[in-house]
């Protein structure tokens, strides 16, 4: 009569399928996939290194609940867009884009993937699924300036900087103000290398600054080249991003280091709890996103104490590195006496303060 019909077989298969799927729905959810895109190699020190140790710390803090993937040395521009899109397409729900130049690619990919959340470092464009985060590096720069101002003998500091964006400019200005707060004769010379990571050019720039009389060097670039150049020339250096005393044991007088672990853990937890929301985070010493590195052997105790006091004052809010009266290096007044600069003015900073030599080139 009927026997085993096609209809019966199909119904049986469907029932098996449902039966198999049910236990699956009851299992623990797959770990959250988090993606990271880096602008330079991770290496042993530098901007990307600090992000990567924070990534590892976050993985440890949330062990089992998150897995991460990173792509390093991705140039800003079209390549970045491709990599961010690949991360979004391959199931990463939270993506950290760790360079200013990733801003437009991040926004573009975010529009195409409304369910993926993006965190962009050091940028200013946000969207419904894009938040920005940054640290008040300028606070650390001011403190480094205090140490540098007391350690310099020629009263000239050399600054090897990448691109003239407000982020970098406020660092230069804070450093100059820190130096001048303890040494009114100090001057800062700036050389732009137009690259975040290029040890060759950074070395050349550092050597040129040393030849022009700088005896304290610092940098806003990703490699250890400037600290190494200072060590070779037997002058001082302030390291940036990471403690680079391994590369400049005699040269490094202090370091402005970045600490992202707490922030990354907090954001990943928010994503896990379903409570992620786009934000403009800008934390400093108070929030523990900056840490000053170890003092070099050559730094005398009274200078160390001076720095520590200023550090405590900034963390408590008693001191703001950019408080009036403040003039730019053309003589124009930028801040009236007693006023502290606003965050908005900081993020648009496009001038040098008194004490910085030269004219600021137009940013790209």
């Amino acid at each position: 009569m009927t026997g085993i019909t096609r209809r019966m077989t199909l119904a049986a298969l469907a029932a098996c399928g449902v039966a198999l799927a049910l236990p699956g729905a009851a299992q623990a959810p797959a770990p959250l996939k988090i993606g990271f895109i880096y602008v330079s190699p991770i290496g042993d020190a530098g901007w990307t290194h600090q992000h990567d140790i924070a990534r590892l710390a976050m993985e440890k803090n949330l062990a089992g609940k998150v897995t991460t993937k990173f792509v390093e040395s991705v140039p800003e521009g079209a390549d970045a867009e491709r990599v961010i899109r690949e991360l979004a397409q391959s199931g990463h729900q939270l993506i950290f884009t760790t360079s200013f130049g990733y801003m437009n690619p991040t926004i573009k990919v975010a529009q195409q993937f409304p369910n993926v959340h993006f965190e962009h470092a050091t940028g200013y464009k946000t969207a419904k699924n894009v938040g920005t985060y940054n640290a008040r590096f300028y606070e650390g720069r001011y403190l480094a300036g205090i140490v540098a101002g007391r350690m310099t003998k020629t009263n000239v500091a050399g600054y090897v900087a990448a691109f003239p964006i407000p982020e970098v400019v406020m660092g230069i200005n804070a450093f100059a103000r820190g130096m001048r707060s303890v040494n009114p004769k100090a001057e800062v010379k700036v050389v732009w290398v137009n690259s975040w990571f290029d040890p060759g050019r950074e070395s050349e720039a550092a050597n040129t600054l040393a030849a022009q009389g700088a005896d304290v060097l610092t940098h806003h670039t990703d490699s250890t080249a400037v600290v190494q150049a200072a060590e070779a020339k037997k002058i001082y250096a302030v390291a940036y991003h990471s403690d680079m005393s391994k590369y400049g044991p005699n040269a490094q007088i202090t370091a402005v280091t970045h600490v992202w672990d707490k922030y990354y853990t907090r954001v990943a937890q928010a994503q896990l709890d379903g409570k992620w929301a786009p934000d403009h985070i800008w934390g400093g010493l108070k929030e523990g996103m900056i840490q000053m590195g170890p003092f070099g052997k050559a730094v005398p105790k009274d200078v160390q104490d001076l720095e520590k006091k200023a550090e405590a004052d900034i963390a408590s809010g008693a001191l703001h590195p950019f408080t009036g009266p403040m003039k730019d290096n053309d003589g124009k007044e930028r801040l009236a006496a007693g006023k502290a600069i606003t965050d908005e003015a900081l993020s648009k900073m496009d001038y040098y303060v008194e004490g910085v030599q030269g004219k600021l080139p137009a940013a790209k």
């Binding site: 010379k189 700036v190 050389v191 040890p199 720039a205 040129t208 600054l209 250890t224 590369y247």
Partner: protein, 305 residues
């Protein structure tokens, strides 16, 4: 005065990779072969020297390895251009691209490795003489090697029989062959020598000048070296002058910035390349000079009849 001495030191140091690469290319072109692959060979020399220096902790071994690696790469060019008689320009360009890519691929794990490079050695007593001491004796050892290379090339080309034969091969390979000289073998030797020199130039960059490895770290110096050989009308003494001139232009961008000159840094960074173009344009106005000084068979494949 001290700043001046420092600037001279820096300019000489900056021009040295060009000295190595251009002198090597000069010898190659004097033998009648046009090897455009200098940039690729320099980069292969750079990464080979860096890797060996990193693993053996000896930068000088690295320098040797760099020269050997680039010489090996140039042998590929020699086989294709001399034995297989392919178009030399196309082969050279292909070699350049290959060298750039190969070095980037091999070097991808070495971006943040730090090595102890070759640093200027202070000669006790001599280096302490006030101005001349620093100027004459404060250089990186490889700078002295490059000057010795210049003396060697100058002597070889114009004072030895072998150099005369090489130049003859470059002017008229048919006549040289008729006299009985092995044209292809001589050209092979010249190409390998040129490759080794380019490798030395790259090794100097990676192990002495800025001890580090970054993809594409020669930043176009190979191409500038090629232009330099033409600019110098194939004379070693002019190559040296031109190389140090370009070296100081390369540094000028940082000097100008540090001195507070108000030109945007991006424009200043263009200086070495703009200078190259300007110089080439001026030189090529006079086609006669080029024709008189260039080796007559430059770039033409040689068919032994």
């Amino acid at each position: 005065m001290d700043t001046f001495a420092q600037l001279v030191l820096l300019s000489l140091a900056a021009g040295t990779p060009l000295v190595f690469a251009a002198l090597g290319e000069l010898v190659v072109e004097k033998s009648g072969v046009l090897n455009l692959g200098v940039e690729g060979m320099m980069l292969v020399g750079a990464i080979a020297s860096f890797i060996v220096a990193a693993h053996t902790q000896s930068p000088w071994l690295g320098v040797g390895a760099g020269a050997l690696a680039a010489a090996a790469l140039s042998t590929i060019f020699a086989v294709i251009a001399l034995t297989l008689r392919a178009n030399q320009v196309a082969t050279g360009l292909a070699l350049s691209l290959f060298g750039v890519g190969l070095s980037a691929f091999i070097g991808r794990d070495y971006s943040s490795v730090v090595i102890g490079g070759i640093t200027p050695v202070a000669i006790p007593g001599l280096s302490d003489i006030p101005v001349l001491g620093r100027l004459l004796f404060g250089h990186n050892p490889l700078v002295y090697v490059s000057l010795a290379l210049f003396a060697g090339v100058q002597w070889f080309l114009y004072r030895t029989r072998a150099g005369l034969v090489l130049r003859a091969v470059g002017e008229s390979p048919q006549s040289a062959h008729a006299i009985g000289y092995p044209v292809i073998a001589i050209r092979y030797a010249a190409v390998v020598f040129g490759g080794a020199c380019a490798g030395l130039g790259g090794a100097y960059l990676a192990v002495a000048y800025t001890p580090s490895w970054v993809e594409g770290m020669t930043a176009g110096r190979g191409w500038i070296a090629l232009a330099l050989v033409v600019f110098a009308t194939w004379k070693p003494s002019r190559v040296i002058v031109g190389a140090y001139l370009f070296g100081s232009v390369t540094l000028a961008q940082f000097q100008a910035q540090a001195a507070g000159v108000a030109v945007p840094s991006q424009l200043l960074a263009m200086l070495p390349y703009v200078a190259t173009i300007v110089v080439l344009a001026i030189i090529s106005r006079d086609a006669t000079t080029i024709r008189l000084n260039a080796p007559a068979s430059l770039g033409k494949p040689y068919h032994p009849e």
